[in-house]
């Protein structure tokens, strides 16, 4: 970053001479170090999963949830500055509510993301605010079927079949690319999500982590966004651990052969 220290990075809403907004780039930096979040679209829904680094053994296990709901049909998870994520979700809920008040219907996923995209973008435009320090994943079902979106600090958003953000995003993406969301079932998707989070965690192996998974599916949850049931979560974790061990064994075999 050539312009660091020239002052162009100290204020939001200012371009540097080479046309960059440094505050937005710093916000993206905050995301890059956060725990990995992923989303996978499957046949009739979306699964979201997040790696929660356990920063202290005094934390209550299984609490401090990271996946939130907007309305009944949209799940959100994010990597980066967690309080900013709560802010975004709270805005999303306001959008949901005002749409419901006006039209009685549930807001469609693309429309909600568009509204939130504009909201996040506005936080890059003024020097009275700073951008959102998160990248958020949205999974939901509406009358057009399942949707998965990823929204970045700049306000840009795209739809995905599989998406990942946070520290382990690169290895997660490699795995996501191998999945076929047209044939994947809900339960398979949950297990794959667990496996990918476990894999993405390999880079920060020294740290303890928890995994949180939610889904929204026509067949499994009647179009509602919910945490996956405890027994399925357990099954998924076991599957992830087993797969991870297999891979390690394979690596060792290869090494031996050399």
């Amino acid at each position: 970053m050539t312009s660091v220290g020239t002052g162009y990075d100290l204020s939001n809403s200012v371009f540097s001479p080479d046309g960059r907004n440094f505050q937005v780039e710093y916000a993206a930096k905050a995301v890059e170090n956060g725990g990995t979040s992923i989303g996978i679209k499957f046949k009739d829904g979306v699964v979201l999963a997040v790696e929660k680094i356990v920063t202290s053994k005094l934390l209550v296990p299984g609490k401090n949830n990271r996946i939130q709901t907007i309305g009944r049909h949209i799940g959100v998870t994010y990597s980066g500055l967690l309080p900013d994520g709560r802010h975004l979700v709270s805005r999303g809920r306001d959008e949901f509510q005002s749409f419901k008040d006006q039209y009685k219907d549930q807001i469609s996923v693309p429309y909600l993301i568009d509204r939130l995209g504009n909201y996040v973008q506005a936080y890059t435009c003024y020097n009275s605010v700073r951008p959102f320090g998160i990248t958020a994943l949205f999974g939901g079902i509406d009358e057009d079927g399942p949707h998965l979106y990823m929204l970045e600090p700049s306000g840009v958003y795209w739809g995905y079949q599989g998406a990942a953000t946070g520290k382990g995003r690169q290895s997660a993406k490699n795995e996501l690319e191998k999945l076929d969301s047209n044939t994947l079932t809900a339960k398979e998707a949950v297990k794959e999500a667990a496996r990918i989070i476990y894999l993405a965690h390999e880079d920060s192996k020294d740290k303890d982590f928890e995994i949180e998974i939610s889904w929204v599916s026509t067949s499994e949850t009647n179009g509602l966004h919910k945490p996956v049931p405890a027994d399925l979560l357990k099954e998924a974790k076991e599957y992830a651990e087993q797969k991870l061990n297999e891979d390690e064994d394979d690596d060792e075999d290869e090494n031996m052969a050399e």
Binding site: N65, T69, K104
Partner: protein
Amino acid sequence: MDHDPFRWGRPNDQHYGQYNNAIANAAIKYKDGIVIAADNLGSYGSLARFTDVERLFPTGDNAVVGISGDISDLQYVSRLLDDLEIEHNYDSDGHQLKASHIHEYLQKVFYHRRSKMDPLWNSVIVAGLDDDKPFLKYVDLLGVTYSAPTLATGFGAYLAVPLLRKVVDKEEDVANVDEETATNAIRECMKVLYYRDARSLDKYTLVTISKTNGVKVEKNQQSKEQSWRFAKDIKGYGTQVV
């Protein structure tokens, strides 16, 4: 507000329309839960205009709200309940949205509106299971509340309650009544109400909430074994001449 002594406190057609859906919210406690029923009629004055109106709204995990009165206000209240449930789910803190909470909330809404001189023209029964104990409480357009082991709104307050009290008179009696007895009593009430109240229907929704089965909703219930022979003995009304 119309201060004409003969019209004071009555719904103004300009504001409230003629939609009225008077009666037949009848509810009873039994040892493991509650049974509540409401017919599906939406009247337009004396015209039976809609015959598929749902007036029982399951809210939270263990409660149902029965609403009678003005239908547009009913629809508004039902949306409030939906919002309440959605907002409650946002706090994923393991806390329950109980019948008592819903009732307290509605009481605040109704009392607030009556204090603005803009009441919601309804009477409401909130029924549910709170900590495995049957809960049954009333609230109306004035924000007035009361609780009893049997409750009914509108005409039901005159016709259904005496019948239900034969089954459960005092709180102590609740423990001696099983689901079948309670359900039969409610069904009997719905039939009597259909006999005697011209703004009622013999098609109704029945909701049972119990520990074992949770919230059970039975729609399109038909009052059976009706007998209208008594009608020929009724004299002195309408075109009938003695």
